[in-house]
Amino acid sequence: MCLAVPGKIESVSGDDPLLRTGRVNFGGIIKEVNLAYVPEANVGDYVIVHVGFAISTLDEQEAQRVFGYLREMDELKELEQGSP
């Protein structure tokens, strides 16, 4: 129900901020999505979409943090165990 999925904005239309919509690509499936809550989002951005509304623009840099964190933990382990 709270399922919200990432998709890429392919085009944007509408001038009224409340009615601004975009065509969003979810791995090949295109859907019309309301962009009123992501005024900063533009073509090429990835947005999280829930029941027809984009609720955030994904931050590409932050998206890597999960992997960076993993590397830090592994390095920490090597330090603790004194391996090279």
Binding site: A4, Y46, V51, S56, L58, M73
Partner: protein, 373 residues
Amino acid sequence: MKFIDEYRDAKAAHRYARAIARMTKKTWTIMEVCGGQTHAIVKFGVDELLPKEITLVHGPGCPVCVTSVELIDKAIEIASRHEVIFCSFGDMLRVPGTGKDLLSVKAHGGDVRIVYSPLDSLKIARENPAKEVVFFAVGFETTAPANAMAVYQAHQQRIENFSMLVSHVLVPPAMEAILSSPANRVQGFLAAGHVCTVMGYKEYEPIARKYHAPIVVTGFEPLDILQGVYMCVKQLEEGRFEVENQYTRSVRREGNQPAQQLIREVFRVVPRKWRGVGEIAHSGLGLNPKYERFDAEQRFGVTLHTVEESSECISGLILQGIKKPHECPAFGTRCTPEHPLGATMVSSEGACAAYHRYRRLRVPEGTRIGQKS
């Protein structure tokens, strides 16, 4: 798919699991609040990767599961009227009310339609001016901006044959209710990433401080959940209780401001009864006086109506993290997804349904993460 597949990498998942095991010294019980997380945890077997010291219990974060029997009965009553087109998200149709469900209303000729977005129901209202179109607005903070927009547009565009049966619930008061219960065993939380995408996480900071419970805002993919567990266990082991954000690619501390603005415009905080749990103060949203004419309960005169809930279903205890689905005597026997006794067996985000779907056949270790359904 980008932003999905990379977070299902089995090797990385096992590295996280090993890091968690190395760090864990004591036993801890952590609750994932959101049903979407419950679904992912059970589907990908995330909990089976964790050391035995860590127990994940499943929270109340499935709006379908916590919608009260009264509201389901009201929905059924409204949907049965000949002048009504009743629109709902699909998973509400099979939730049992006192006697029947919305699907049986449809089977008996009621015009009950499944919609993907509340804006679809507004479109149906525009196209059917002679009918009353009612939308069943269930959901947490994640869904509130969409439902607020539907009401706001109905108001702006004067679509008067549209109304909403509002069953909105709020997460932080439910977390407080769980933490302050004498039966509570939850020591830390994975907060719901999409709820916080909308609301931010400032309102969790006093809760973490007051109950000494770390809260980690967490995403929905296996690696997100494992990192969330790691951050939560780290706090527990170090004796810290802060609000941290794992899901930084989507969640900012102040949340989505335009969305919050429209929620405040259309809705106000009200007490709400949660199925299996009871009434929790300040835990729901209702329409502001300015938009009350779109309230389906008032429009159809179904405001006064209370019922007793069935006693066999223990979903209330499951939603509070006190019991697990397989501890229910009806689980898999008298209660199945085909014949659900409680709502947690209906929704794919309900803990009972997730256990029933994914836990019947054991899959060999190591093959679960990254599998496609």
